[in-house]
């Protein structure tokens, strides 16, 4: 095949995908603001998306905080600045690693699960069945997941922040000769409200991305089991990439660079 034809087809395909995603997002937002809001379904999804992600988010945040303390200590050591560990750990965790670690973990768990569930409903005609039962599938399936993810993610990120800082504290006091009370005091004195809030805002955006990608790829899966598998992979990959891209954008907006 002609190489230009190949590139052209690729570009057209990409544009069509972006258009479809934009339309899907628009429909989801319209459904979000038009009543009724299914409170029962939102609660169920908060449990699934938020509560059941706690162990994996907590565990990864703990180790991230620990390894961060260790690296900063070793790096700072080279120019006699190892005392800065608590300040850099809390800054790195609250602004950056808490929300991003939570986002990537939830992306792997939840975007995949949402895409698999909705994709299966699509290929077994359950989504068509919703329409025939006078229920808007976007409203019934997408909106509760979006709302639940946007509510759950800042909570998860806040927990990841605390556990991450705690991980740093454990490593610093257990093997880096820091005194516990001084470590905590330095942490508290240094972290500002802005650091924490900016991280939670990021987390809410990541939650939106995760639920949107899971739902979008689920709704557009085709074929049988293979199509659902492809949708699941696409949901995880695209939400992870978008989380990191959005992280950069939000950081430059929130911190004016």
């Amino acid at each position: 095949m002609n190489i230009f034809a190949g590139i052209g087809a690729g570009v057209l395909g990409l544009l069509a995908d972006i258009g479809r995603l934009a339309m899907f997002t628009g429909r989801a937002l319209v459904a979000l603001v038009s009543p009724p809001l299914y409170g029962r379904l939102i609660m169920g999804q908060i449990l699934r998306i938020g509560y059941f992600s706690l162990p994996v988010v907590g565990l990864t945040a703990f180790f991230t905080g620990g390894v961060l303390a260790l690296q900063i200590y070793l790096g700072g050591n080279r120019f006699g600045a190892e005392a800065i560990v608590p300040q850099v750990v809390v800054l790195g965790i609250t602004r950056e690693l808490g929300p991003v670690i939570a986002g990537l973990m939830v992306s792997g768990r939840v975007a995949a699960a949402i895409a698999a569930e909705i994709g299966t409903m699509k290929v077994t005609e359950q989504i068509d069945a919703l329409t025939t039962l006078a229920t808007n599938p976007i409203k019934y399936l997408v909106v509760p997941r979006l709302v639940a993810a946007v509510i759950s993610m800042p909570i998860l990120a806040g927990i990841a922040d605390s556990i991450g800082v705690f991980g740093g504290y454990v490593v610093a006091t257990a093997s880096l000769h820091f005194t516990g009370s001084i470590y905590l005091k330095n942490t508290m004195d240094f972290a500002t409200q802005g650091d924490i809030v900016s991280g939670l805002v990021k987390a809410a955006v990541f939650g939106f991305i995760i639920a949107l990608m899971g739902c979008y790829h689920g709704f557009h899966s085709k074929g049988g089991a293979q199509g659902v598998g492809a949708a699941t992979t696409a949901a995880v990959v695209s939400s992870s990439i978008l989380i990191l891209a959005a992280d950069y954008l939000l950081t430059s907006v929130l911190f004016g660079r």
Binding site: E117, Q126, D128, T132, L133
Partner: protein
């Protein structure tokens, strides 16, 4: 003449493939029409166009004389309350219990209280011959025949004016198929509904219809009262109802 549903020149294609190429079909009020046709001829696509699940490229669809071709949102949901549909694979919600499936349209679509909707669901399950304890099972615990019955109970739960059946007997043993046929006939009569079924099962088609139409090549090529199907004089219909490999219909090996 009192048409409940009319399709006028309905066309639908996917990519380069024309599936429906100008379908004209009228379904009289309180009648039972069966559309026959081979696998992959577009029978499911046709009813999905009427239900608004797929959007036709051209043509008009009237329900009670109202043009519903381009309805969406709340207006579409409102029209959908006239319909009940039994899907080919059942399409039961596997995250919900059997009774919640049956009551779904009442609770979500019409805002009925759960307790009240559950009582109605249990009575509808009894109508299709399922005992109350089935109501508290999950759809994955049921056999294919029982899933079809639950799908039927869900389709009739809100007393729809119009019921669609997509291949109601496909994949069932002959006895269960006959049970489902009987249920279709009796429920349609009880509810006083207009029925549109699609099938390639001629035994079922003869039993549940008062008129039959045949879809071939994207068009309705013959229609008439059920009793006349053996005297249609149409070679395509003859080949289909006798299940012969030889004849004017050439099976595409690639769907």
């Amino acid at each position: 003449m009192n048409p409940k549903i009319q399709l006028i020149g309905v066309k639908k294609h996917f990519g380069a493939k024309k599936v429906l190429d100008g379908v004209d079909l009228t379904i009289e009020k309180n009648s039972s029409l069966v559309v026959i046709g081979g696998s992959g001829t577009g029978k499911s696509v046709m009813i999905k166009c009427v239900l608004g699940i797929l959007r036709p490229d051209e043509g008009t669809i009237l329900v009670d004389g109202e043009d519903v071709t381009h309805l969406s949102g709340a207006a579409r949901d409102k029209v959908m309350t006239k319909f009940g549909m039994l899907f080919q694979g059942g399409a039961l919600f596997d995250s919900l219990l059997v009774w919640e499936n049956v009551a779904f349209g009442l609770i979500q679509g019409r805002g009925m209280k759960r307790a009240e909707a559950r009582d109605i669901a249990i009575s509808k399950l009894a109508k299709v011959g399922l005992p109350e304890d089935v109501a508290y099972l999950s759809p994955s615990e049921l056999s294919g025949g029982m899933q079809k019955r639950v799908g039927l109970a869900r389709a009739i739960a809100a007393n729809p004016e119009i019921i669609f059946f997509d291949e109601p007997t496909t994949g069932l043993d002959p006895i269960m198929a006959d049970v489902i046929n009987e249920l279709i006939v009796s429920t349609v009569r009880d509810v006083g509904a207009t029925a549109l079924s699609i099938t390639h099962d001629m035994v079922s088609a003869r039993k549940i219809s008062d008129r039959i139409a045949m879809l071939y090549g994207g068009k309705i090529i013959w229609q008439g009262p059920t009793g006349e199907i053996d005297r249609s004089g149409n070679p395509y219909v003859d080949q289909f109802i006798h299940g012969r490999a030889d004849g004017p219909i050439r099976m595409a090996v690639k769907a």
